[in-house]
């Protein structure tokens, strides 16, 4: 095999790798979006349920609302603020207990617990795929031959996703 055809083979193989990584990013980002949306929806449902006191309800409602409505460039901040609001509202185990005791509260608690734990997972998977793609795209042959085409440089999703302690400690 000539030197040129070896190079061509390498390039085509790398382009395929890059494609796969980009597809993985799209999938992981969609997964993260789904988890974030689910979390905001459960939070909003709890906020309007009347199970929480009105002050906690409004704080949670506004945060969830802002997270759902945020423009892309505000999204990380808005989602972080929802994490903070959730931590403040569910800081005490008794609050979680009070929600559980309400009619339908058991299920709502389960959904919220799942949501606050899955967001960090989904985010880690997404950022991991972003890291892999970025590493490959920084490779000089990829840059020289513009193998990534016009695909935007993948960005990690940075946010505070620490779940409330009272929800993190219990089995989902």
């Amino acid at each position: 095999m000539s030197r040129w055809s070896r190079s061509a083979l390498y390039l085509s193989w790398t382009a395929g790798r890059l494609d796969r990584l980009h597809a993985r990013i799209d999938a992981s980002r969609a997964g993260l979006d789904a988890q974030l949306l689910r979390r905001a929806s459960v939070a909003q449902e709890l906020a309007t349920s009347g199970v929480l006191d009105p002050a906690a309800s409004i704080v949670l409602y506004e945060a969830a609302h802002a997270a759902r409505q945020a423009e892309e460039e505000q999204r990380e901040v808005a989602e972080s603020e929802l994490s903070q609001a959730l931590r403040a509202v569910f800081a005490e185990p008794q609050q979680v207990e009070a929600v559980r005791e309400a009619p339908g509260g058991e299920q709502a608690t389960r959904e919220l617990t799942e949501a606050v734990r899955r967001v960090p997972m989904a985010r880690r998977f997404h950022n991991d795929s972003v890291r892999a793609a970025r590493a490959l795209r920084r490779h000089r042959k990829v840059r020289w031959f513009r193998l990534a085409g016009h695909a935007p440089f993948p960005l990690a999703f940075e946010m505070d996703d620490e779940p409330p302690a009272a929800l993190a400690d219990r089995p989902a």
Partner: protein, 389 residues
């Protein structure tokens, strides 16, 4: 009368609402009423004997900034216990429309509830669910008080319903009795307020100052308030900077003496004021007032009869009015006299009596305040909630 007052903001942080509640409580105590104030406070903050701590306020992102609020299970339990132990004839909640201790108390109590709305600009976004959450608690209020016509109007627009207007109170005689300080006298303009809060308007005054000094080079500007002093005079030509004296944070006594000493008090605030207590204090001290024409200020100054108004944020208008007033001792004397007469309606003796009338109106023929039965909870948990701290 047994009166329970709920303060929404941390007792350890100085602020207009906190001062209002402190003065109101002390006024009622002097009249022989039993008063208990429930307020957020750090556990190690020394509190006056009539204040009960509702625990620490939690910082949370709210409405575009970080607010320190009380909510949640433990705060609600403390509110219920306070209501239970206090056996109040009436409770008076402040700022019940913000997600804070006031709203929590409103939700947890039943019986005669009076509420005062201080803020004039709640949120502009109308949020359907937040509105309904709020309404359920606000429905329990038997009488609403707004601190100004402006605050009342926003209350009507945003939440519906109506309110009586009772202004914030001031101890007028405290200012009348203050001794002028000779160092602060002689062609002086006074400004009190946070230096680094642009809405307090110091930048507007700084912009107007060169024009004032061009006409009246002997004039001095005395600034009392927290903030970066160098930054505040940055816009000013270097040779004019010595005409500005910064006094830093001043005590209540020095504030009164400053207001007694200056020839003109300028309030260039550009917004965010629902009342304007500083104008009332200035008038109490007999200082002629020149203020921006914010709605709240115009009302406190009796549409310009008790003090002069200039177009908000218009530094030229401010300069022109200041130069004219400082050069017209007869007009200044007239403003002093009118202000002193007008301000009597803001004295605690008037304001306190009005608030007491509201209490009496809502308590006549009703049962005392109690902790509301928490319909979310079983009897056992409600009892636990009461027992827990």
């Amino acid at each position: 009368m047994r009166i329970g007052i709920v303060c929404p903001y941390s007792w350890d942080v100085p602020g207009g609402v906190q001062f209002h509640i402190r003065d109101l409580a002390e006024y009622f105590i002097r009249l022989g009423h039993e008063v208990s104030v429930l307020a957020p406070a750090d556990d190690d903050t020394p509190l006056p004997p009539y204040v009960v701590s509702a625990g620490r306020a939690v910082p949370v992102p709210y409405n575009g900034s970080v607010a320190r609020l009380n909510f949640g299970f433990l705060s609600a339990a403390r509110v219920r216990r306070w209501l239970h132990d206090g056996e109040f004839d009436v409770i008076h909640i402040h700022e019940p429309a913000s997600p804070s201790l006031g709203l929590l108390a409103c939700w947890a109590a039943q019986g005669p509830i009076v509420a005062t709305f201080h803020t004039s600009n709640p949120r502009s976004r109308a949020m359907v669910a937040a509105y309904s959450i709020l309404q359920a608690a606000l429905e329990k209020i038997s009488a609403r008080i707004a601190v100004s016509e402006y605050a009342r109007r926003t209350l009507v627009e945003h939440l519906g319903g109506d309110a009586v207007v009772i202004p914030n109170g001031v101890d007028v005689d405290f200012f009348v009795r203050a001794e002028p300080n000779p160092e602060w006298q002689g062609d002086t303009i006074g400004f009190i307020g946070r230096i680094d809060e642009p809405r307090k308007g110091l930048p507007v005054l700084m912009k107007a100052l060169p024009k004032i000094l061009a006409e009246r080079p002997q004039t001095r500007l005395l600034v009392a308030g927290r903030g970066d002093e160098e930054e505040a005079v940055e816009s000013l030509p270097a040779e004019l900077r010595p005409r500005v004296e910064f006094l830093g944070m001043v005590s209540d006594e020095d504030k009164a003496r400053l207001l007694r000493s200056v020839d003109l008090y300028v309030a260039p605030n550009t917004g965010g004021e629902s009342f304007g207590i500083i104008l009332v204090e200035a008038m109490s001290a007999g200082a002629p007032v020149l203020a921006s024409d914010l709605d709240a200020f115009a009302q406190v100054l009796d549409r310009g009869a008790a003090g002069e108004l200039f177009a908000n944020e218009d530094a030229d208008a401010l300069a022109t009015a200041a130069v004219r007033l400082l050069g017209d001792p007869a007009r200044l004397a007239e403003l002093r006299e009118r202000g002193s007469a007008h301000v009597r309606r803001f004295d605690w003796s008037t304001v306190g009596a009005d608030i007491l009338s509201v209490y009496e109106t809502v308590t006549s023929g009703t049962a005392a305040v109690a902790a509301a039965y928490d319909e979310r909870a079983t009897g056992l948990r409600a009892r636990l909630g009461l027992a827990r701290d």
